[in-house]
Amino acid sequence: MIDAVPPGLVLLLGGAALPLVPVRLRPAWILGLPLITLWLSWSVPAGAPLHVQYLGWHLIPLRVDLLSRLFALVFSIMAFGGGLFALKQASVRELAAAYIYAGAAIGAVFAGDLMTLFVFWEIMAVASAAVIWSTGSRAAYGAGMRYLGVHLFGGVLLMVGILAYAKTTGSIAFDSLSAGGAGRWLILAGFLINAGAPPFSSWLPDAYPEASATGSVFLSAFTTKTAVYVLLRGFAGEHLLIYFGLFMVYYGIIYALLENDMRRILAYSIVNQVGFMVTAVGIGTPLALNGAAAHAFAHIIYKALLLMSAGAVLQQTGKRKCSDLGGLFRTMPVTMACGVIGALAISAFPLTSGFVTKSMINQAAADQHMLWPWLLLVAASAGVFLHAGIKFPWFVFFQKDSGLRPPEPPANMRYAMYVFAFLCVAIGVYPAPLYALLPFPVDFVPYTGGHVVSQLQLLFFAGLAFFAMLPLMARTLTVTLDVDWLYRRGGPYLYGMLRQRVERTGTVLSAAAQAAAHRTLSWLDRYHGPEGIFGRAWPTGRMVIWVALMLVAYLLFAYAGRY
């Protein structure tokens, strides 16, 4: 029976129990849970060892194959790294929420049916909002509410979609969703909202940078990558996703170029990176799907590393804007080096994890003779270096001397960065173990002379473009409007305007109603009132006389008749 322990549940319940654990034991609990989950995810046998009949539904809470295991493994690694990074700094509330969130994500990727998936999907939404809220700031409260609103909306689409799908196909098994009519499209919409696809990309850069220095590390990993997983599972080869993905790739780059908040730059680049994966899912060949899965794996690690580096800076300086930062390499060389390794990995520099995974995606587009997607992906690869690979380290650690001389972050934060920096390089240098975990057999060699030379040319000249246009990149104290304007400003504005309209219309209407009522009453009064022609009151006195006279007459006739 031990074979069938759902690994996600261990992390989820363990996280929920964290506040009850004695303070002395908490570090062991925090570091132990993800390791147990990692071991369980690794050792749980392939297949579907758990089946449950519930309310007439056939539920499969645990379905294990290469794809679900790959994501469960990287989620466990992520929970461990995030837990180590947050060990001493995060509140118990935040850590408990983060572990519930991570556990639910693992539960979601092991879900073999759509109902189980939906349950974990919603737990993720609430737990991740709780992670955002745990800073306790007003900004975080608002951002968390907006975040939750978008995700609950996505959840509703997903739920309606699942029900429609179940009605059409008679099944809730979660495999490739190639049939199912409207239900299928609603499910796709629900998935895409969590992936950060348009028009709902802005929830991500709106919410994640408002979490704590440790919270945003957790947030970067699970929601969007669970979405990539479900797209891989359900919608592989859906060509529509190529357009969504390419839009996300460029949205991320352009908005990140305009951004001043260091963690928001990284948040936009999550959308950018997930865009590569979504595009690959849309291309749909085994190489593309392997690329999407592998890139998700690598991305979780280097993005967490980047956010750890940014989180360490935030924790040590209290500052988050590029315009306030700069020159930190002097006193935070370790944080800088780890940030640079993350930046090189996201840029897909040879010998880093991004190179061995992203090149699969670009190659898949080329193999399918998709000229435009390929050209756009290659240009975007240069753009990644521009907006995240150089911009983040440059403005935070170099640029100008901000005068700040913060010390390195505490040991546990540094160790977490070492572990993830090591993984970024290890996967890049020796990708075979990662390739062995991918859903399809890998027949791809990343390190050919041509690949390396072309990638280096691309990146070095992107770097040249950055420094050549540095004056154009000067940071300004600005935010950039996005679709979230609609519900942050447009919605309230529209509401205020409508309310004004309604009130004004109400005044006019009630005046008109009053006038009409008055007219009706006076008309009634005129014809049916006491003096009205229909309502003229005949004096009752006269009636009484007539009645009395008739009575008298009657009496007279009655007497007369008797005698």
């Binding site: 001043n260 240009a379 240069a382 000249f461």
Partner: protein, 81 residues
């Protein structure tokens, strides 16, 4: 604070860094003489394609972002009140 500036930010160092960078740029293009780059769609194999394409696409992205910024940028206290 009147100490000598960090060696990395001295003008002489920055000059050296630019020279090294220029050499690296040149080397990455010249490497194509020695290494065969697979010609994707015919264009990918052209000499220096990735250099030119990478540079120009970055310039285009920055300029486009700049343009979009003039329309969509607001003070960063825009949402605060």
């Amino acid at each position: 604070m009147n100490r000598e500036p960090h060696w990395l930010v001295r003008l002489s160092t920055i000059r050296v860094l630019w020279r090294v960078f220029a050499a690296v740029l040149l080397a990455s293009v010249l490497a194509q003489l020695a290494v065969h780059v697979h010609a994707e769609f015919g264009v990918g194999g052209r000499f220096g394609f990735y250099a030119v394409y990478g540079f120009l696409s970055c310039v285009a992205m920055v300029l486009f972002a700049k343009l979009l910024g003039t329309l969509l940028k607001r003070r960063d206290t825009y949402y605060d009140d």
